[in-house]
């Protein structure tokens, strides 16, 4: 192994990338990390000079959809440069998970980078029955998590499993599945929820940590604000239909063919914070609502128990001043063109107020930045 860790730029050069490719990567990363164009220079400098961060990636109670989503990140160099680095340490992750005979080897790695490595966790940790519901190499997930966390610089909880327990924590939570932040304290934890999170959101979070060596701004639930500060409902291209009271009444009806709002089909867009409406999925091809299905709210805590998925929300936070969408639909259906215009104006006023309120909500107690690592 080489002695001095390579910087990302040096590594890219070794892999045969040109300066131009590298700069393109930096711009892309900056965009993915939610940094304005003027900040790209900072990213470039950081990538040129920062040694690559040691990363450990754990798998506990999960389905590997987060890993799969990550390798779908749209920039070709992400897989080559960043994933490669993570993959390299991922092997050590699995070594850690292989039972206490392998502990010596893991300890060597953890000792060498003590306090320096970034720990990525995919999956929840079962606490019932002393953790026997997830054993790796003869050890419980809980054991492995605690040991590795002790020397980690920061933790990224990938997906809804690690950040809020996800499906296995749904009622009655037979195995006591528990998210990372409820087990560990005294270490910065970044929650990147979603089932899975969008690949570019995952890459963007890692890049932020790599390039700036500090934790991105987080909301009250520990999620990077760059990706989780806006509701699907507020960024949805079908939103004007909601405002105009135009709803799909049944899948595949005439309104569905016109792309009307899916609120009545149970859409969780109004209570879900994610970047689907802005970044979309798989290099911007589409997102669930665009493909005709209601959002199931997969970034939100307990979304599995907030069902059934096809029963529409009776009301949702921040909309107390409005009637439910049902009544909006009925009223608007009956009014004249002038009425429609009036509604549009009042909706816009309401919308501004609502956005303000929702921002206030996400800045609620505990929402301040959780500081640098």
């Amino acid at each position: 192994m080489i002695e001095k860790p390579l910087t990302i730029w040096e590594h890219a050069q070794l892999r045969g990338y040109s300066r131009r490719d590298f700069l393109r990567l930096c711009s892309w990363l900056a965009a993915a990390a939610g940094i304005e164009a003027s900040g790209v220079g900072r990213v470039v400098r950081a990538m040129e000079t920062k040694p690559r961060l040691p990363v450990i990636w754990f798998h506990f109670q999960e389905c590997t959809c987060c890993s799969e989503s990550f390798i779908r990140s749209s920039h070709p160099m992400v897989a080559d440069v960043i994933l490669d680095k993570i993959s390299l340490d991922y092997t050590e992750t699995l070594q850690a998970a292989a039972g206490h005979q392998a502990e010596a080897a893991l300890h060597a790695t953890m000792e060498k980078s003590k306090g320096e490595y970034l720990m990525l966790v995919e999956g929840s940790v079962p606490l019932e029955e002393d953790g026997v519901y997830c054993c790796i190499g003869g050890r419980t997930a809980l054991d492995i998590l605690k040991e590795a966390a002790a020397g980690a610089k920061a933790i990224v909880a990938w997906g809804s499993c690690a950040s809020n327990g996800c499906i296995q924590a749904a009622q009655p939570n037979p195995t006591g599945a528990t998210p990372v932040h409820k087990i560990l304290s005294g270490i910065p934890i970044i929650n990147v929820p979603g089932c899975p999170p969008i690949g570019e959101v995952m890459a963007g979070t890692i890049v932020h940590l790599l390039a700036f060596d500090r934790i991105p701004q987080l909301d009250g639930l520990g999620r990077p604000k760059a990706f989780y500060s806006r509701r699907i409902h507020d960024t949805c291209y079908r939103r004007p239909n909601y405002d105009a009271g135009l709803f799909v009444e049944s899948f595949d009806d005439e309104n569905a063919k016109r792309g009307y709002c899916l609120y009545k089909m149970g859409c969780r867009g109004p209570v879900t914070y994610n970047a689907c409406g802005v970044m979309r999925w798989n290099n911007g091809v589409s997102f669930p609502i665009q493909a005709g299905h209601n959002c199931i709210g997969c970034t939100e805590k307990d979304f599995w128990d907030n069902g059934p998925f096809y029963r529409h929300l009776a009301s949702f936070p921040g909309f107390g001043i409005e009637s439910t969408a049902d009544t909006i639909g009925l009223t608007v259906g009956a009014v004249t063109a002038a009425g429609m215009a009036a509604h549009a104006i009042s909706t816009n006023i309401r919308k501004r107020k609502l956005i303000k309120e929702s921002m206030k909500q996400s800045e609620a107690p505990g929402a301040e930045d959780k500081g640098g690592a």
Binding site: C63, C65, G99, D143
Partner: protein, 572 residues
């Protein structure tokens, strides 16, 4: 005295897999397969809306995403007697085909190829000769000497950096590697190309289901409404996009994957005699062309083969409570009817009861219970499921397309038909079915376009959407073929809610522990006889394990009989 090898973890789609094997005189003489993680899906599903079940079960696996959603909507539609519109069937088939192509190509290049391709040896290759080989087996355009020289240059810089990353497998130079350096260079180049390609094909899921992994499904049809005159629905642009992705995928499969597979296989014909395992094969069949209920018209036929007798294909009925049963004699569950009894999934029980050693532990007590996987049996027989089972059932059912593909591969490699029942056979069958699927996908696509042109844009049947239209009690089964093999969900609905739900997944068939009578399942059986010539470099063992298609992040750790750590194997 055999030495005990512990292989843990093999991180897999359903969670975490551990294998304990006994080695004597350089060969595996016995093996035990254990699933060491459980989430309790079946318990969680009780009492929920059956229309939501697809979303829950889809999360069983993010690698072969979509397959559980498909089995789930079929189970509910079967229970409620819902017939989906032809277009919805076609959309589901297209999503199925996209999943197969992505999954199988990634398996070949990123999980399995490193068992056969010596990446470091590619440094010694003559790019001109690699070019000649490439052009002799395929018309794929990226085949110039310059192209391969560039890949080699990148590889050299990469190796010199000391950071092997995903290639840090460590067996380079192992005597079991048989490929000439030039073929290794070809494989390495295509390894990189395939990594980029896999991001593209899944966009078919994004177009029809909104995202990948875990696209959306819908009981009663597909959620993507068609309107060729509107920008907010499945329109001409979206459909053309799907067509382009399918054409590109077919080209990649035919010009890269299949020629590579045959080229690599021709150097490893002896692996047609290793890893044979169980003599019984089961396929539920899939890809309906005339509705889910018309099983005879499926592209992949349904059936079972016993004792490698290809002259008889046995009928399989998922609803016959005597046929498919799950046992827990060696699984950490308990049954109200006694742990030696078998249960058809409609009567299935999921009562977790861990009786294994207290962690941390060195060894499982393999005489007792040792896994979170139950043990499914078909009429009491242990069955192998997966691409080989599908190809054999189709071959024995007289499907000409499949017979031609199989015979042509056998004659190309000049190996006997018995070579199918092996580690090599499994790997080859996976490629052959991908080739067929690449062609079938375009048939489905053109059929979808034709339907829409003819004025049929229906995607969903809402006649039984409302629970008020359902019978008070209903039972259904959704049978499917996941890339890794036969997959089925069984549902019992009572009063509009799920009363019982059971999943029997491919890995349950293949990776399960022994049954009540001590019969081994597929993994345990196939490992017997697999050589382990060098315990520090157990490449051969990996080949057999990987021929069943373990997942994206597979690591195998070996220990000797005293529990001393011997070696670690990493792929990807």
């Amino acid at each position: 005295m055999p030495s005990r090898i512990v292989v843990d973890p093999i991180t897999r789609i359903e969670g975490h897999l551990r294998i304990e094997a006994e080695v004597k005189n350089g060969k595996i003489v016995d093996a035990y397969s254990s699933g060491t993680m459980v989430r309790g899906f079946e318990i969680i599903l009780k009492g929920r809306d059956p229309r939501d079940a697809w979303a829950f079960t889809e999360r069983a696996c993010g690698v072969c995403t979509t397959v559980h959603a498909l089995a789930s909507v079929r189970a509910v539609e079967d229970a409620l007697d819902i017939t989906i519109p032809p277009n919805a069937e076609l959309v589901r088939n297209l999503m199925f085909c996209a999943q197969y192509m992505q999954d199988h190509v990634v398996h070949f290049y990123h999980l399995h190829a490193l068992d056969w391709v010596d990446v470091v040896s590619a440094l010694k290759a003559d790019p001109k000769k690699t070019c000649e080989i490439a052009q002799s087996i395929s018309s794929w355009p990226k085949s110039s000497p310059k192209y391969f020289a560039d890949v080699q240059k990148r590889l050299a810089a990469f190796v010199q950096s000391g950071q092997l990353g995903i290639f840090a497998n460590g067996y380079w130079g192992h005597p079991a590697f048989k490929l000439p350096a030039e073929v290794n260079l070809l494989g390495t180049a295509h390894y990189l190309e395939a990594l980029e390609w896999q991001k593209e094909i899944v966009k078919i899921h994004t177009i029809f289901g909104g995202k990948n992994p875990h696209p959306n499904y819908l009981v009663g049809g597909a959620p993507c409404a068609v309107n060729i005159d509107d920008s907010n629905a499945l329109n001409a642009e979206r459909l053309a996009y799907v067509g382009r992705l399918l054409e590109e995928a077919k080209e990649f499969v035919e010009k890269v994957y299949i020629p590579d597979l045959l080229a690599v296989a021709s150097f490893y014909k002896d692996w047609g005699a290793v890893g044979s395992g169980l003599p019984n094969y089961l396929a539920y069949g899939d890809l309906p062309v005339h509705g889910y209920r018309d099983v005879a018209q499926y592209k992949f036929p349904r059936g079972a083969i016993l004792n490698r007798d290809l002259s008889t294909v046995h009928e399989v009925n998922g609803k016959d409570t005597e046929e498919i049963q799950e046992y827990i004699a060696h699984s950490w569950y308990e049954y109200s009817t006694g742990d030696d009894s078998g249960k058809h999934p409609w009567d299935g029980e999921t009562q977790l009861r861990y009786t294994g050693p207290k962690p941390p532990y060195e060894h499982l007590n393999v005489d007792q219970k040792y896994s979170w996987l139950k043990t499914p049996r078909w009429k009491g027989h242990p069955m192998e499921v997966g691409p080989l089972a599908r190809m054999l059932v189709a071959y024995a059912s007289g499907r000409e397309e499949v017979q031609e593909a199989v015979n042509s591969a056998l004659s190309h490699l000049n190996v006997p038909v018995t070579a199918l029942f092996s580690t090599l056979g499994r790997t080859a069958a996976r490629g052959l079915e991908t080739q067929l699927i690449a062609t079938w996908a375009l048939e489905f696509y053109h059929q979808l376009l034709a339907n829409i042109k003819n004025g049929d844009s229906r995607m969903f049947d809402n006649s039984k959407w409302e629970p008020s239209t359902w019978p008070r009690e209903a039972k259904g089964v959704g049978l499917s073929e996941a890339p890794r093999g036969a997959l089925a969900h069984w549902i019992v609905i009572n009063d509009g809610k799920i009363e019982n739900y059971q999943l029997v997944v491919p890995s349950t068939w293949n990776a399960s522990p022994r049954d009540t009578q001590g019969q081994r399942s597929a993994y345990e059986a196939a490992l017997i006889g697999t050589p382990v010539s060098d315990p520090d470099q157990p490449l051969e063992l990996l080949r057999t394990i990987h021929s069943f298609d373990p997942c994206i992040a597979c690591a195998v750790h070996l220990y000797d009989e005293k529990g001393k750590y011997i070696h670690q194997i990493n792929t990807f």
